[in-house]
């Protein structure tokens, strides 16, 4: 077969690809979608007549193109999922040390110390040292709340800084794609440049780490990039910048027209940051505020029901600005040691009210839990979130490695080998999938046997 006839085959194949581009893109984009109503791909074989210089079928060359598009998109999707998981895992890991689970340090340590001081007060209600200790421990605890709430708020700002960096990177990479698109358009007139194509793929893969992008190859060879499948980032030789808006309670992402597109961001580092910044972190802060508010209200309510050393109605120990920022603003009032209401009305000098304060250690105060129990639940939830995020990151990373490995394995394989591989995989898969099912059932049975 002459070189000329081979080139002729390629040229014919390219023409078929051009004509079928729209159909192919749909098929490739939806190849992984179960139940997708597939469109017919009408590719015809070319005549085979070696003597007459007709080299035969074109399907292998076309399939390689489809395969490349399919596998590149798969790798990009995996990259997006890993980017989001990696971002969340690293941010939550930095957050975790703020939540002590030993009960000896941080808020739980200070809370236990306050509850212990209530207990001591109930033993010696008129001892000035014990009375002052209550005020001192309350002050320590307030300080702890303010410190941790402030640290969480600073973390928000840190996430915003990271978000700014990620958005800048997205815009810069979109600019790179725009420039490469211009080159591709230029090259397509002279038959295309594999180096430019490789650069374009590498840039799109990098961009996938940061954002949830969809790509559409255009007839002129350029790539249209959409954020969240809807918002244009690049069309031909035009790039559209996105911005992060930090003016509201939640950070928002806006398109080049200023429209809020936050909900469209569903993967990549940007998604990971938005999730932590707008969902996870606020839920921790809300719980911390609830704990601070409940603690202050309950202690103050008990004190209000008692009398101080002079027989006056009990003064409040804690104060805060509003429920929404109770942890940020918790502080001890100007109460003095003699004003602490350890006794009950009708029993001056007694320990009736101090016993009530001491009972706060065990009584259910929030969501059916004691104050320390509620904090333990919050710290436990943070720990679980970190563990889940770390596990998710590892899995996503392995899935990305898997897709990249498949990309390497698929390149340069003939159509016949490819079909044989798929069938061989299918057979092997069936056996393994069945064994996974058996293992799942056996694990379930074993766990039940232990209960």
């Amino acid at each position: 077969m002459s070189l000329f006839s081979t080139l002729l085959t390629s040229a014919n194949a390219l023409r078929v690809i051009d004509q079928q581009l729209a159909t192919t893109q749909n098929n490739v984009a939806n190849a992984g979608t179960p139940g997708y109503a597939k469109q017919r791909l009408s590719i015809n074989s070319l005549p085979f007549d070696p003597a007459g210089g007709l080299p035969g079928g074109v399907s292998a060359g076309e399939l390689e193109s489809y395969r490349d598009v399919y596998i590149e998109q798969t790798v990009r999707r995996r990259q997006q999922a890993w980017g989001a998981a990696q971002q969340q895992a690293s941010d939550l890991q930095r957050l975790e040390p703020l939540f002590d689970v030993t009960g000896e340090a941080g808020i739980p340590g200070a809370l236990n110390a306050l509850l212990q001081s209530f207990s001591s007060l109930s033993v010696t209600p008129n001892d000035t040292v014990a009375r002052q200790a209550v005020i001192d421990r309350a002050s320590d605890l307030s300080l702890r709340f303010v410190q941790d709430a402030t640290a969480l708020d600073s973390f928000k700002l840190d996430l915003d800084d990271q978000m700014r960096g990620v958005v800048d990177t997205i815009n810069q990479l979109a600019g790179d794609v725009r420039a490469l698109n211009a080159e591709v358009r230029q090259d397509s007139r002279s038959g295309g440049d594999p180096n430019v194509d490789a650069k374009l793929n590498a840039t799109l893969e990098e961009l996938s780490e940061y954002a949830d992008i969809t790509t559409l190859k255009q007839p002129d060879g350029s790539v249209t990039v959409l954020l969240g499948g809807q918002t244009p980032l690049v069309i031909g030789d035009r790039a559209f910048t996105v911005t992060a808006d930090f003016s509201g309670a939640n950070t928002a992402i806006r398109d080049s027209n200023g429209q809020d597109i936050t909900a469209q961001v569903g993967a990549g580092r940007l998604y990971g940051l938005l999730q932590t910044r707008n969902q996870v972190l606020p839920s921790y802060i809300t719980d911390l505020n609830r704990l601070a508010q409940t603690l202050a209200d309950r202690v103050n309510a008990v004190l209000a029901g008692g009398i101080d050393s002079a027989g006056n109605a009990g003064a409040p120990l804690f104060a805060y600005d509003t429920a929404a920022n109770a942890a940020f603003s918790l502080h001890v009032t100007g109460i003095t040691e003699p004003e602490l209401a350890a006794a009950l009305p009708g029993a001056p000098g007694g320990n009736g009210n101090a016993l009530k304060l001491a009972s706060l250690a065990e009584s259910p105060e929030i969501d059916g839990l004691s104050l320390t129990g509620f904090y333990g639940g919050l710290a436990g939830r943070v720990g679980q979130d970190v563990e889940r995020a770390s596990g998710d990151e590892q899995t996503r990373q392995q899935l990305l490695v898997q897709a990249r490995s498949l990309r390497d394995n698929l390149s340069g394989v003939s159509l016949d080998e490819e079909a044989a591989n798929v069938l061989a995989f299918q057979r092997a898969y069936q056996a393994s999938a069945q064994l996974v099912k058996v293992l799942d059932e056996l694990t379930e049975i074993t766990v039940n046997l232990l209960q």
Binding site: K38, E62, Y66, Y70, Q398, Q402, Y429, V436, T446
Partner: protein, 132 residues
């Protein structure tokens, strides 16, 4: 070949936990194998999965017979095993999804579509070669 597993009903309790840990390590090997999801890797995974299943079957029998006791670490090991099984399963399903997507394109492009709109299965075709 699957490794031969000895009966556990006469072994001390700590061996039960070690048995689960071994099964978990088998699953971790499966997960690593499936990072390169060739059909050969999946076939090798089946051997490891069978190993793990045999270990668990043996453990189940040991527990039913009341042999070996119930060491405190066993529940934790089973939790780890569950997580590892979920990861291995996800790797396997993900590899299948990759092949399935590609197979749809491959078969459709090679054989068109059936009347029901599914990609046609590839047909074995005769071929000849010309030398000279």
């Amino acid at each position: 070949m699957p490794e031969k597993i000895l009966p556990l009903n006469t072994k001390p309790g700590s061996v039960l936990a070690e048995c689960v840990a071994e099964a978990r390590r088998d699953l971790a090997r499966v997960r690593r194998l499936l990072a390169q999801p060739t059909s050969a890797a999946v076939a090798d995974s089946a051997v490891l999965l069978e190993n793990a299943a045999n270990r668990l079957r043996d453990l189940e029998q040991g527990l039913r017979r009341g042999g070996g006791g119930r060491p405190p670490g066993l529940a934790r090991e089973l939790g780890e095993l569950r997580r590892e099984l979920a990861r291995a399963s996800e790797m396997l399903e993900s590899a299948a999804a990759l092949y399935l997507g590609w197979a749809r394109l491959l078969f459709a492009a090679a054989g068109g579509y059936t009347a029901r709109g599914e990609p046609a299965a590839p047909l074995a075709a005769g071929r000849f070669s010309v030398e000279g």
